[in-house]
């Protein structure tokens, strides 16, 4: 069967999405200043989105490679050097270790949009980046922080206050993968993989899916499954029946307005207009971003189960008719809010996943992801 091609759908306003994304790369008004620490996320979402749209960004934004490169910093440690990206050079304070694991992944994604892998690995030192990931693992368990304590600067100490959820674990594993780790043995050179796997097991929920304290969440589920897919040789940590139940849990996140659903008139978290969209948890509204997180999870689980997801058309209809902004371009969270960059990118990523043009585990368009995958450590 030919995959659906939602990016060629006549309802899809490609040019307007391009303008919407490009606006975010130019000068931003002061209301964006609270996004200073997320600047590299803004750059990534905009560049990756433009790449999905087929814009020749490596040409158009070539000069910005140098600007991005300035965010890459090497910090001396008692055991040698670690390297990564700082979130912002504008507010950087000299002498304060402000490398961030999350910014590092966004920095790598952004550079991968602009230069080829050979050039990328001239700019960043793979070994030092892997050492940075290693230093972010909280000793002896599977948890990762994203940064260091600001003081004392030496020896470096992982942050005492960072959240340590599956997001940071995904970021750590994804960086190691993009630096060339492919098997358990590769990953284990830098981190305690047993700790990571134990943590993932702990987050498995009785009704399927992954989340904290037995409350499954589609975002965490996508993180956990992406990690397992990137490590690839350790699916055995959970029984195959769990993956099947998780597949079913994910399918159930696609909202229907059929049958007895119409009886839920007293449910404040249900809107029949959401038909075809995905929610992140039970009894919540549909949200553009969960279209991607669930779809990515279903894609990953495909080879682990015999069931298939075939509700693509309903999701495409939901995204193109309900959350796409046909006037301004961009996608909103739902059919009420204004479009924003995050939901725009995830809407595009969902559509590109459906057409086979996006690799959700590395979070890169297929052409870039394929080129990065050629580089093993």
């Amino acid at each position: 069967m030919k995959p659906p091609a939602p990016l060629n759908d006549e309802r899809f306003v490609a040019k307007k999405h391009q303008k919407f994304l490009e606006r975010h790369l130019h000068i931003l008004p002061s209301k964006f200043q609270d996004n200073e620490p997320n600047k590299l996320a803004i750059v990534s979402y905009a560049l990756l989105g433009l790449s999905i749209l087929g814009v020749d960004i490596s040409k158009k934004y070539k000069g910005s490679t140098e600007y991005l490169k300035k965010h890459y910093q090497e910090v001396e440690n008692e055991i040698g050097y670690v390297a990564g990206f700082v979130p912002s050079i504008s507010t950087h304070v000299k002498g304060v270790p402000s490398l961030s694991l999350t910014s590092t992944l966004f920095g790598i994604w952004s550079l991968a949009c602009l230069v080829n892998a050979d050039r990328l690995f001239e700019i960043i030192d793979r070994e030092k980046v892997c050492q940075f990931v290693a230093q972010c693992q909280v000793s002896d368990n599977g948890l990762f922080v994203s940064s260091f304590d600001v003081t004392p600067p030496k020896p470096l100490h992982y942050s005492s206050i960072d959240p340590t959820d599956l997001r940071h674990t995904y970021v750590a594993i994804a960086i190691l993968y993009l630096m060339g780790c492919r098997t358990s043995t590769d990953f284990s050179r830098y981190i305690s993989l047993d700790g990571v796997l134990e943590f993932i097991k702990q987050q498995a929920c009785p009704q399927g899916g992954f989340g904290q304290y037995f409350e499954p969440h589609a975002g965490f589920t996508s993180c956990a499954l992406s990690i397992l897919k990137l490590i690839n040789d350790r699916w055995d940590i959970l029984p195959s029946s769990f993956y099947e139940v998780t597949f079913q849990w994910l399918l159930q996140r696609q909202i229907s307005s059929d049958g007895p659903m119409t009886l839920m008139t007293n449910n404040e978290g249900f809107d029949p207009e959401d038909h075809g969209g995905f929610q992140g948890r039970e009894n919540k509204f549909a949200d553009t971003c969960y279209g991607f997180w669930c779809l990515n999870s279903l894609e990953i689980l495909g080879p682990q189960t015999s069931a298939r997801f075939e509700g693509h058309d309903f999701l495409v209809d939901y995204l193109l008719n309900n959350t796409q902004n046909k006037l301004l371009g961009g996608f909103a969270k739902n059919d009420e809010d204004d479009p924003d960059l995050y939901h725009t990118f995830l809407g595009l990523a969902a559509l590109a996943t459906i057409s086979g043009d996006f690799d959700g585990t590395t979070f890169l368009p297929q052409n870039i992801s394929r080129a990065m995958k050629l580089n093993r450590l």
Partner: protein, 317 residues
């Protein structure tokens, strides 16, 4: 500087040379046009950080920086180091910091840093109190009864203080307010799985099953309560479903097992899924399971048609 946008509070900062924000690089992406308040606050606070000053006035400065940029994790970290150095294990001072954090939390409910910062403070605190945490948890859930971060924080507190005493009642209160609150239902499962090893007492399980059935009767088309009901059997009762619970589920699916020529409205597609799952466990009833899946596929949940057909195929092969 004649007029200052930086709130000095009771402190003096005139000796501090603000650290300028560099911007306007060639080929810069996402150049932000900072306003004057931002430049001043960031200038002073970053200058204090650069000279590693750990003082009351530095603490005051971080609160302004964090207010302007709640995601600035370096400032949160700086603040924590100040608190640690100045107050160490002084419970009264750490309570003041928790008070500040309560206020900040109310104004920034979706912030990513607040809860892990709070956990770090509790670890530092020589005599942390679960009671001290309850009002802010209550206020935040009043605001958004399904806030994932808040529920997670509550559960981490329950673990930290090993106090499960009020949790089922707490979940019941939230379920009374909104029977569709999935977080509240998951909270029950969290309590049962965390408090009792290997399984909860039989009496408690009976009460839970009874409670859940009552809630399902109030709102039959509710995935959260049906998940919990199935979870009780799956996690604690060896997956052995009794006749009573089957009869209970059947009351919401009248007609669904009859001919599909003239389909009737049923009260709950989740009851039908539940029955399909139970019937699918035994060869003797797998025919009924097939009929349930067919009804879901064709009439009651056609968006997942393909999946229900897959279930039928797996039963018959």
């Amino acid at each position: 500087m004649t007029e200052t946008l930086f709130d000095n509070g009771p402190f003096q900062y005139s000796d501090i040379q603000p650290l300028p924000i560099s911007s306007g690089d060639k080929d810069e992406l996402c150049q932000i046009l900072y306003d004057d308040e931002y430049k001043e606050v960031m200038g002073i606070t970053r200058a204090l950080l650069e000279k590693s000053e750990f003082s009351e006035r530095a603490l005051h400065a971080t609160s302004q920086a964090i207010q302007l940029v709640p995601a600035f994790y370096t400032m949160w970290n700086y603040r924590f180091q100040i608190v640690r150095k100045l107050y160490g294990a002084d419970p009264a001072k750490l309570n003041d910091e928790l008070d500040w954090l309560d206020q900040f939390t109310l104004n920034n409910p979706k912030n990513y840093q607040i809860w892990s910062y709070r956990q770090a403070l509790l670890k530092l605190h020589p005599s942390p109190q679960f009671l001290r945490e309850l009002p802010i948890l209550q206020a935040m859930l009043d605001e958004d009864t399904k806030n994932y971060h808040v529920w997670s924080y509550r559960r981490s507190c329950v673990f930290f203080f090993q106090n499960f005493d009020h949790e089922l009642q707490f979940a019941s209160d939230l379920i009374t307010r909104d029977v569709y609150n999935n977080s509240a239902w998951c909270h029950r499962m969290f309590v049962l799985k965390s408090q009792f090893k290997p399984t909860p007492p039989t009496e408690l399980l009976k009460t839970e099953i009874h409670y859940t059935k009552t809630q399902i009767e109030l709102a039959p088309q509710n995935i959260s309560s049906w998940n919990y009901l199935q979870g009780l059997y799956q996690e604690f009762l060896d997956n052995k479903f009794d006749a009573e619970v089957v009869d209970f589920a059947l009351t919401f699916t009248s007609g669904a097992f009859d001919s599909l020529e003239k389909p009737s409205q049923i009260l709950s597609s989740y009851a039908l899924e539940f029955l399909a799952h139970v019937y699918g466990q035994s060869k003797d009833t797998s025919d009924k399971a097939c009929r349930a899946y067919r009804a879901l596929s064709e009439i009651y949940d056609p968006i997942r048609k393909n999946f229900w057909n897959f279930k039928i195929r797996s039963l018959t092969t």
